[in-house]
């Protein structure tokens, strides 16, 4: 009896190992040369290095964002959530959401929309009985989000820890969940989410095509894919100024504020290596999305790509 059980267990292990083999092969065999900033590394090395980069910057991530972009990153993220225009009851998956910026903005937006909805409902009701008014107040307390939920998924534990602390500090508890997961292999079932966002994260994914396919898989039909990322500036003069700022100022800021030159050197190099707007649009279309479009913010320094699963 025990022997049979052992056999079955071994078969299960074999099955999972076979399943895992293609993934392992991809990493272990010298693998295609990938880029880490301007260096050339193997796939495994790249994952490892990126993990270490974010592990070391996690605590100072928000401070650095503010100082590098002079606070403009907040505007970009606000524009992303406004573009999303979520209604109460929306399920959002925020991948590479780390410190939770998009998630918090989503919650604020949905709360505001919900309040407006409830106020409009109250205005239409004339001659409410005391019982109805009482019930209305009861509802408000438990329904401020209207069943909307956001799941923040990130591959880096440190970033999630910082995000969770921020959430506690700012008082976000309802409708917010944290998961440690790989964007190339999401732990979610098919057709689950209304919106999938990835803000300043897709640049760090090693296999962008896999991440896009996973995004397509977990979205409901009719779901929206939104990607906010640094992109290419076409204007030559601006491009030169931007390069100057990126390579001369940002790593110095990184050293002064976060004590980490190399991570921020990686950051600016990875921006240069990332495919430009049109190429990313083609990749998103390849994954199966329709109506793929992008919107340049600040002349192309940042771009929001959007696609629908139809």
């Amino acid at each position: 009896m025990a022997a049979v059980r052992l056999c079955r267990c071994r078969c299960r292990a074999l099955l999972s190992r076979v399943r895992g083999a293609p993934r392992a092969l991809r990493g272990l065999a010298a693998g295609p040369e990938m880029h880490f900033g301007f260096q050339s590394v193997t796939e495994e090395e790249r994952r490892e290095k990126i993990y270490q980069v974010f592990e070391s910057v996690a605590k100072k991530y928000d401070v650095m964002n503010d100082s590098m972009t002079l606070g403009i990153h907040r505007v970009w993220k606000d524009i992303l959530v406004h573009k999303m225009n979520p209604s109460p009851g929306t399920l959002l998956l925020d991948v590479a959401g780390g410190t939770g910026d998009i998630a918090f903005r989503f919650i604020n937006y949905v709360r505001a929309v919900r309040e407006r909805q409830l106020q409009r409902k109250l205005k239409h009701h004339q001659n409410l009985s005391w019982q109805e008014i009482f019930e209305n107040y009861q509802e408000d307390k438990s329904d401020s989000l209207g069943d909307s939920q956001v799941v923040v998924c990130d591959i880096n534990r440190e970033m999630l820890k910082v995000g969770k602390q921020k959430a506690q500090h700012l008082g976000y508890s309802e409708g917010l969940s944290w998961v440690l997961g790989n964007a190339e292999e999401l732990p979610f079932d098919d057709d689950m989410f209304d919106v999938y966002t990835i803000a300043f994260g897709i640049r760090n994914v090693t296999r962008i095509d896999l991440a896009l396919e996973e995004a397509y898989r977990v979205l409901k039909p009719g779901g929206r894919f939104l990607c906010l990322e640094f992109s290419h500036v076409s204007n030559p003069l601006l491009s030169r100024l931007y390069d100057l700022y990126s390579f001369q100022v940002i790593p110095v800021l990184g050293e002064v504020i976060a004590g980490d030159w190399k991570s921020y050197q990686y950051l600016v190099e990875s921006i240069r290596r990332f495919p430009p707007q049109e190429e990313l649009k083609a990749m998103i279309e390849d994954a199966g999305f329709f109506k793929v479009d992008y919107e340049n913010l600040n002349f192309g320094i940042v771009a929001i790509h959007s696609g629908f699963k139809l």
Binding site: R19, R23, A24, V151, V179, E185, P187, F188, D189
Partner: protein
């Protein structure tokens, strides 16, 4: 009696907690039931007894409110991390990243278990770790930190 079967540090911990009014002997049978995994965790707890006692004292006050025997066992064993069960709303979304099949939440070890493949994903600090490298095979019994490539 229990000091014989468990590590010295854990035994000291238990007697200290037994004195505190909130924890009674009704917990100990549950510990015995948890088996070798609980013993392994208690062994780990024995190494950091001082900090553990402080945290356990604070934690047990909270957990008395929770009335959750599973996490009380965890409290003694896991040392620095006070495990919180994940939110039920999150549990309905999560599936195994490899097979995309639903998972079962195991309160005793605070893990999400995929029966089919025989792997368990740990939940640390209330955040489930759904990366295959972090999963452990349930039919072996390695410590949770071992990374297995399934």
């Amino acid at each position: 009696m229990y000091g014989k079967t468990l590590h010295q540090g854990a035994a000291r911990l238990k007697t200290t907690l037994a004195h505190s009014s909130l924890c009674g002997t009704h917990r100990l049978p549950a510990q015995r039931g948890a088996g070798p995994e609980a013993a392994a965790m208690l062994r780990g707890g024995g190494r950091a007894v001082a900090g553990l006692l402080r945290r356990a004292a604070a934690g047990s006050r909270e957990q008395h409110r929770d009335r959750d025997p599973g996490s009380r066992i965890q409290e003694q064993g896991s040392g620095s991390a006070r495990p919180q069960p994940p939110e039920p709303s999150l549990l309905r979304f999560l599936v195994c990243p490899l097979s995309k099949k639903p998972l079962r939440y195991e309160e005793a070890t605070n893990e999400l278990i995929n029966e089919e493949l025989g792997i368990a994903y740990p939940i640390i600090d209330g955040i489930p770790n759904m990366v295959p490298e972090a999963a452990r095979m349930t039919h072996k019994k390695p410590p949770a930190e071992d990374s297995e490539q399934p």
